[in-house]
Symmetry: D2
Subunit: 340 residues, 4 copies
């Protein structure tokens, strides 16, 4: 199938190029970048040296494709989506521009009026574990936010069973690649190295996605920590009823028993007893673990992903596989590295 | 004054040696280590090269001192405290052995019967901001746990005003030096580098100190992240009444207005708007910040320290200064480094 | 083909398991580990969760295989090789035990008398770019040292042309995984984090391999730096004749023009103008670059690899492919990740 | 004494402010920054919160001072020095603008014609270990380059004795703070984290300083590695005569025996046997070690510093102490931290 990538110079775009180059059913027909138009893709993504000699095109060179994947910065796809839909039968958008169903949420969380609200109701939120059937038929799939993906996958089984009655506290730790490829004072190495930076302790935009998909109240605070790729979300839930750990096992098993990209990680010994993003670099897995504190009836759920894989480009390829009826793991079989 | 250090080969012991060597009123009379007995202190603490030619002694060489500081591993000081009190008028213990007032808490949290329960009631919990007057007169001061210090200092003003009515969720991020100087598989560099490791998501021992000192229910989960020194504790509190941020300012200012080692960090712009442990390496400050989320009446309190300074040796020297009537900042004036 | 892995619990062993699980022509028939016998392989290599349910066997359970790959610690394979050769038609050894052709070199560099000197003359040094034809026919292939591989591949084209007449200064920077899976004081995270540690500035054992394979005098000094995987070797060569850069290009192109795993990296602009190990994590490439300093007729050659891939397990699989007539890149197509 | 700091918003300027705030004989009378004019110094250097309420002034507000310290970017001080000398009796310049004695060297290495060549002959190169007496009397002291300082201090004793007859190969590893406070693609955390980046393998400007001060041919290649502060320079020297290690000891002892900021680090065991920049963060020491390789008569000299301390601001304060007859260690007594 012929796939075009609009906005391929960022980190998500680059990861998508890497994955689609390895995908046996996909031919990348165009990669656009307004800033790097005419330059070799491998100049921007140096890991692709020796692998591809593709060049960046301009957006004005778009032709017709089976699928367009959009990796533009937030706010740019909102306006242009109707145009993109003329160039392709189906679109996967990796920005935040089509994640929320309710146009008013864009006012509240993004401070903008959405220019294409009718497309919002059509768009499907791109987490196959929650919306597989809708994705299969969707014309427009909206990639989920990276922090949102980790929290939603971690809590979805509990939320679905109505076990989260109070507010879920979600405390996330995230690597620097989630900020994107643009440098700034806050990502300058001497300032970013070794931090534990609470950069948006309240009102982070991904909260809206979490509440939309889980149907529960979310109190979310992300922290930038010293790593490039990876997210660990620690979710603190206070249960109404004293669920035993084996019951929690049951809930997760029934929700995720057949999921190819979910692993329940909960071991009695060893140093990787709980989910660890370090083990997932380059992999599309979401590792989920939990532990119950009996004294206060708290359930701690930990959920780890690679933000550029299951949190962005990997999940987009998973959606592509669902949309086109390929084996869901096709092109995503990479095993994580250890140690790394 | 003549000070002896019992157990000086670990990280806390080494930091104490460094600080006391710079303290104008202190003479270090002995440093013990059973493993390194007879060896130069600078062989174990290579930062002290060119600074001291002291050697480690054995515990059997203990004489009489004004003050003994104990840096032994947890569980060793419990038994020996009566003996140490014969060698010195006063003792500061940096282990966890005398932190809890209630002997039963040692059963619950440490799984041991405390051999000297009568000393537990005498011991004073070594956070001057909470117990300055008792520390001044104390014979036995027990250094606070590093994770506990960050959480307690962060929440104390709110707890004192009765503003924490529900369970406080405390999600901490901590550097590798908190594990101590002993190597293991979990601290092996290829395994520890770049992790976000939830190593004890429930029932961590420091919970007991937090609940004792704050008088509130604490739901605590620490995470090992990529740094050597430093702790950030993020505390999620749900307020009963809709406190405005200026009211919260008032609460913190009234509690800490004159404290030499507390800084309230809350700025509108810049990349260090909230507390950041990276800025505190080598410093005795505890930086505290907060932000309110109106929609769910959550207050996020962030508290940062250097675990070996305000979280251990620095706070011990602060206690020493209080105990002996010195200026509280004496020997602790080091300004943090930036960038680092 | 049926492959057995002897000594599969270390980092090289684990990487080999990961690669062979993805290799379409290989079936892993046994993985031994005396320490973890009976335990699941994924308990030791947690990246393999969900990928394999193999268990470790004891060495006493060895049967017959097409190929045995040995990942035992240095010094253990020397004695046992005759035994291993009874269990398999061919052997690839990843330790240092069969790398040197001259038995006396084992005295000089390893301080031991080699127990099987006759096998030394049979063993082929496992760098396909230098010994492809011998490897094709070899019964015993000895994996090259990781630091040696980077230096040898970097300098081989120059050495072959007789352009290195004086001593080559080789200054290498290496990640912590090269030390192996065993923890110690020197790899304890607080001690290893952020170092630039010159741990063996002279007489490092890999010098012997470099001199053997290049036929030049090598002055080698490795440094442990802050990374888990990766090696950059910077080689300083003083040329007798004033070779132009385009001549150097010619030398490298003629030596490596058709090599699937060598990339010449030398760009005029950008931040990855020269070889960078960070781009190679998980990849089998060796990136080589150079720059000439006219004023002193120095040629600086930089050579980067992933120590566990091209420096160990990846190169072993490359040798396997050569030995059995498979496509040389089979199972090694992974593209490096960026950013990481 | 009244000291002014011109260009105080960069990393060197900030470090100078930190040090001079702790210096008992210095009063900081002005700190200029054109970009941050009118803003609190602690907003740019957040480690100074609670320590100073100074604000940045503009350069047009300069008055008269005993000493001006210039921390402007390279190229800006060249022109303005005559003006600065009207505002102060003496000047210490921390840029590269007055380091080279020969105006033609500015053509060769910096590509500019120096506008004030007469001041070049007056300026003294600011390494007290080499030029103490000239610094004492100098009107204009030029701070040495950070990489140059490490190499020069490492090799000076050998050079002085005429023991370096061939070209000295100097392979340095340096942290990200040496690049300065300005962010760019190359310092963007995802791109800079974990690199071993050879960014200027030949013709680096600091070569000129090394050759000027040592009087030997230098073949210099720096590498950016994963740390914020610190430099290790590994110098490979081929000796004409087979010097024994005890002779080398003698050479270093006779050159540096009384130096307060030089430590010879060479131990038989332990993990810090050789100089390690990690131990020097925040300290003004230069640690030097060496090892001889008999087989090729190579001497490996390792030299470690904190680039912002002994490599910049610390050494400037040391020069200040020399210039004004203070104890040379005044305000520089900070002991390095361990672990860090």
């Amino acid at each position: 199938m012929r796939v075009g990538i609009v906005g391929g110079s960022g980190y998500t775009g680059g990861e998508l190029v890497r994955l689609l180059l390895m995908h046996p059913e996909v031919e990348i027909s165009i990669i656009t970048s307004e800033s790097y138009k005419g330059k070799m893709v491998k100049r921007v993504h140096p890991n692709l040296r020796g692998v591809t000699d593709l060049k960046f095109s301009g957006m004005d060179e778009l032709d017709s494709y089976d699928l367009l994947c959009c990796g533009l910065p937030h706010g740019m796809t909102m306006e242009r989506m109707p145009e993109f839909l003329e160039h392709a039968d189906r679109v996967i958008d990796l920005s935040g521009d089509f994640r929320l169903r309710n146009p008013e949420d864009y006012q509240t969380w993004y401070g903008v009026e959405h220019p294409n609200p009718e497309l919002l109701s059509e768009a499907v939120y791109g987490i196959p574990e929650l919306h597989r059937e809708e994705i299969r038929k969707a014309r427009l799939v909206s990639g989920a936010g990276c922090l949102a993906t980790s929290a939603i996958l971690g809590l979805h089984p509990l939320a679905k069973e109505g076990l989260i009655t109070g507010t879920a506290v979600i405390d996330s730790k995230v690597g620097s690649s989630a900020t994107g490829a643009k440098s700034s004072r806050s990502t300058h190495h001497p300032e970013r190295s070794g931090v534990v930076r609470s950069y948006k302790p309240t009102m982070h935009r991904h909260t809206a996605e979490m509440e939309q998909e889980l149907g529960v109240d979310a109190a979310f605070s992300p922290h930038a920590v010293e790593m490039v790729r990876g997210i660990l979300s620690t979710c603190h839930i206070f249960l109404d009823e004293p669920l035993e750990e084996k019951d929690v096992w049951g809930v997760y098993r029934s929700a995720y028993g057949d999921e190819p990209f979910i692993r329940i990680v909960k071991e009695k010994s060893g140093i990787y007893r709980y989910p660890e993003p370090k083990l997932l670099i380059g992999s599309n897995y979401c590792d989920i673990g939990f532990e119950r504190e009996g004294r206060n009836n708290r359930l701690v759920v930990m959920s780890a992903i690679d933000n550029l894989m299951k949190g962005a480009a990997g999940q987009a390829v998973q959606c592509l596989n669902v949309m086109y009826g390929f084996e869901e793991t096709l092109g995503l079989e990479t095993i994580g590295l250890h140690p790394i």
